[in-house]
């Protein structure tokens, strides 16, 4: 098969699975097997692409020409492939996890759930492989719409209001900010392709226009949850945990930061953006988001909400790194997409496992939980370490590169932000582990009985935890991919 | 002064049509009784018809029917266009008259139906009764 078609297959395989999933409505086992199978094929496609990209091959395919010079097209590069790999691999794990979670919690409408899950993944990969801004925008919107039924899956009042807020935020910003900005660029430059040097270099736009465009994109991709457009994320935590885990720790939010990375590298170009006056605004907004969200996270008692605010902070890390515009910082933020994904999904899985096994949602209830669920809490520790950035987990590598990048940029304040926020991360994660293991439960006299989550939950979360550790040792390939993309060496 | 007077008098057809048309327009908007509104509509349309027809007038010309029409032997060159009024506005307005009649008929039919339903043809009363539904 021609290599060109591989990205198309990777995107569409989960769409093809949807009719099968719907047809197998009455046979849950087969239905979930189909989901898993599609995930494996998808991941296979993505992995098959890796050597080609490392060789520097151009993999490009035009699906459909909308207007002369404005196609819906895919192009695979290192950054996109890295992101696609994250999404595809985690889909498999999450599918496995959701089998355990959803069956144990006796959720309804699982066919709908798996169908939209598959569609969301297709949209995510579409974003990853987009060759131009229009394609990216279309898949971005498709993702917003496809995840809405997932967010509101429970169908009760809370889910509905969360879902409403979710859509309002995402659609308002993308239609209100990104679309006009994109159209303006298209009207002025006539080109929306992501190019290494950016497309705006020779546009002759005024500094003010450029700044407005930049801000429109950075805030318009509200999936990145940069403050003050972060409000949807904690609200969307009403979704079932697998959804929160995959979509709100990985796919959806990462699509947001990925889009912003694309804008900075492909539309503005890092070199050109450095010439834009006041581009530091992005840096400061991101830095502010990092600190503020970490502080808010400290005050949250609901575990999933705490994770949500932590996510907001970590996403801002990535944008912060990218806005520094040095090679190492951009590499670090690209890598952080990968590292944070595995760390955070582990944490979400743990939160879900705790809920499934014990019905506990609040951190204050989780006293002594480490003895009841030692495996889960151990994995939680690994996930926390990765998010905080402690070796030997993958999070350390990316945070290290981010720090180095900040030093390269001679932004000492940013270095301080990174360090402070890492401390805050530690401050809001480690007590959970500590209380879980060392503080005795409600009734110390009662003998503790182990009551773990079902295996379908436990195995996936350990897989992701182990991968978090493995990434510490295997970060080379990922960095190579990014280097190929950026055309630099670190 | 006499220039102004000449100007005004030489265009008296337009002043008449404008006045009539505005009367009609006013009645259509301001009157509350629907039959009166439709009378206004009729005046409005008639004013336009008047405007059209008056554009076809030529001083001293006769109706646009060829004299000695049967006698084709008269050469076409003998026909003096200034001798006959312009036939085109007449044709157009015949159509407009028919349209006006048709519209008025439909409008009156609707008024009758409304009267059957609400037993009034005054706009405020109809609105009042609609509000009560």
């Amino acid at each position: 098969m021609n290599i060109q078609y591989l990205p198309v297959v990777a995107v569409s395989i989960s769409l093809l699975a949807v009719p099968l999933i719907i047809l197998l409505n009455k046979k849950p086992n087969l239905r979930e097997a189909v989901s898993l199978l599609a995930g494996v094929v998808k991941l296979g496609c993505v992995i098959a692409l890796v050597p080609h990209v490392l060789n520097g091959e151009q993999i490009e395919i035009v699906l459909w020409e909308f207007e002369a010079g404005l196609p819906i097209a895919f192009r695979v590069d290192g950054l996109g492939l890295l992101f696609a790999f994250v999404a595809a691999s985690l889909w498999i794990v999450t599918t496995a996890y959701s089998i355990g979670y959803m069956r144990t919690t006796k959720s309804k409408n699982l066919t709908r759930f798996y169908s939209y899950f598959a569609i969301s993944l297709a949209a995510t990969l579409g974003v990853a492989f987009s060759a131009n801004l229009l394609t990216l925008y279309l898949f971005y919107e498709a993702l917003s719409l496809a995840t809405f039924p997932l967010v509101t899956h429970n169908g009760d009042g809370e889910a509905r209001s969360g879902g409403r807020r979710y859509l309002y935020f995402l659609l308002t910003t993308s239609i209100g900010l990104v679309l006009p900005a994109m159209l303006y660029i298209y009207g002025q430059v006539g080109d929306l392709n992501f190019q290494p040097g950016g497309v705006l270099v020779d546009s002759g736009m005024s500094q003010t226009t450029l700044l407005v465009l930049l801000l429109a994109f950075v805030f318009g991709f509200a999936k990145a949850a940069l403050m003050p457009f972060h409000g949807w994320l904690p609200g969307a935590m009403v979704a079932p945990t697998p959804v929160s885990a995959l979509l709100h720790a990985v796919a959806v939010v990462k699509v947001g930061v990925f889009s912003i990375l694309r804008i900075i590298t492909g539309i503005f170009g890092t070199d050109f953006m450095a010439q834009v006056n006041w581009h530091e605004i992005v840096t400061w907004v991101a830095a502010g988001t990092v600190v503020i969200s970490s502080l808010i996270a400290l005050s949250q008692d609901n575990l999933k909400r705490r994770l949500a605010y932590s996510t907001i902070g970590q996403l801002a890390y990535i944008i912060l790194g990218a806005s520094l515009l040095t090679d190492r910082a951009v590499t670090g933020s690209s890598l952080h997409i990968l590292m944070h994904a595995f760390g955070k999904i582990t944490l979400f899985f743990c939160a879900g496992a705790i809920y499934v096994a014990s019905g506990k949602k609040y951190i204050s209830q989780m006293v002594g939980l480490g003895r009841i669920m030692p495996w889960t809490m151990a994995a939680f520790l690994i996930g926390s370490m990765s998010v905080i950035g402690l070796p030997p987990t993958g999070g350390f590598v990316s945070k290290w590169l981010l720090l180095m990048g900040a030093l390269d940029a001679r932004m000492n304040a940013v270095v301080v932000v990174y360090l402070v926020s890492s401390l805050l991360n530690a401050a809001y994660f480690l007590p959970i582990v500590f209380r879980g293991f060392y503080v005795p439960g409600d009734d110390p006299t009662k003998p503790v009985k182990m009551k773990e989550a079902p295996l379908w939950c436990l195995i996936p979360l350990w897989i992701t935890a182990l991968i978090s550790i493995a990434l510490f040792f295997l970060s080379d390939t990922a960095i190579r991919l990014i280097e190929v993309f950026l055309g630099v060496g670190v | 002064m006499s220039d102004v007077l000449t100007f005004i008098i030489s265009r008296f057809n337009y002043w008449i049509y404008i006045v009539l048309m505005m009367i009609g327009l006013y009645a259509m908007i301001a009157k509350r009784n629907y039959v009166k509104k439709f009378i206004g509509m009729s005046i409005f349309q008639t004013a336009i018809i008047l405007f059209y027809v008056s554009t076809g007038v030529k001083s001293g010309a006769t109706i646009p029917i060829l004299e000695h029409g049967h006698d084709i032997g008269h050469a076409a060159a003998a026909i003096n266009p200034d001798h006959y009024a312009n036939p085109l506005p007449h044709v157009l307005m015949l159509t407009a008259i028919v349209v006006g009649v048709a519209t008025l008929g439909v409008a009156l039919a609707v008024v009758q139906k409304v009267h059957d339903q609400y037993e009034t043809i005054e706009e405020p009363e109809i609105l009042f009764k609609l509000g009560q539904e």
């Binding site: - | 404008i18 301001a30 029917i65 029409g69 266009p81 036939p87 085109l88 008929g105």
Partner: protein, 251 residues
């Protein structure tokens, strides 16, 4: 509302008055509308269509397409009024009398005068239709006069009686026939290998005519069609309006 209407009327009126200053004066034979097309119609109509009445020539031939839709407007209005006011269809036309009633209530002078007037008026209407080529008249005018005779009869006698002679069904059929004649002549031209309403093509089937006379004769056919539709539909409109659609008793 009144203030609003007044302001609107004043503003529109001023706009129109200001514009009227730009208009040609009354009776100006050299104004654009009296020159360009008008001259062609006046000088060429007789040549091209063999109809001395230029209004008829323009109406039924040059702008015959307009006139067809004008007839369709009348047809549409009749249908519309029947649709709006019409009640469920029932057997209403049981009264079918051969002759006009002799002992109805009402003024005998009016009834007798009507009996006398109607045939004469109808004859005159037919003259207006047929002689429309040469004198003022034509399908619309004749049709309206015909409709007026029926209206006169309903005024003198009563609606039910007249509907017994010219029922709703018959008005519909005649209106249809009229429009069919008009559009049918147009289609016939197409079938004879020409364009829609290009009457000159009909000389192929009309004996003893050339292309120009064919136009003249076809116009007569068209006018008859118009007259039929106008007659029946105007009467139907009247009948519906005066009886609130019940078609039983009215004025």
């Amino acid at each position: 509302m009144k203030v609003f209407a007044f302001v609107l009327v004043i503003v529109t009126g001023i706009m129109l008055v200001v514009t009227a200053a730009d208009f040609p004066a009354w009776g100006d034979a050299h104004s654009p509308p009296n020159q360009y097309l008008s001259t062609h119609y006046i000088t060429q109509a007789e040549h091209e269509t063999a109809v001395p009445n230029m209004v008829t020539a323009v109406l039924a031939d040059y702008r015959g397409f307009d006139t067809m839709f004008e007839t369709a407007v009348v047809f549409c209005a009749g249908l519309a009024i029947a649709a709006i006011l019409g009640h469920e269809k029932k057997k209403r036309y049981v009264v079918r009398r051969k002759a006009l009633p002799k002992t109805e209530e009402g003024d005998i002078i009016i009834r007798m005068a009507t009996r006398f007037l109607v045939p004469v008026t109808q004859l005159f209407a037919m003259y207006v239709i047929a002689h429309g080529h040469h004198s003022p008249g034509g399908g619309f005018q004749g049709g309206v006069i015909l409709a007026a005779t029926f209206i006169l009869m309903t005024l003198a006698f009563d609606l039910k009686t007249i509907l017994g002679r010219f029922s709703e069904k018959m008005t519909l059929i005649w209106a249809n026939v009229g429009l069919f004649i008009y559009a049918g002549i147009g289609v016939l031209c197409v079938l004879l290998g020409s364009r829609f309403l290009e009457y000159s093509a009909l000389h192929k089937i009309l004996p003893g005519t050339d292309e120009i006379m064919a136009r003249s004769h076809s116009m007569l056919g068209v006018e008859i069609g118009v007259a039929l539709t106008v007659m029946s539909m105007l009467f139907a409109i009247y009948a519906h309006l005066v009886s609130k659609g019940r078609l039983e008793d009215g004025l």
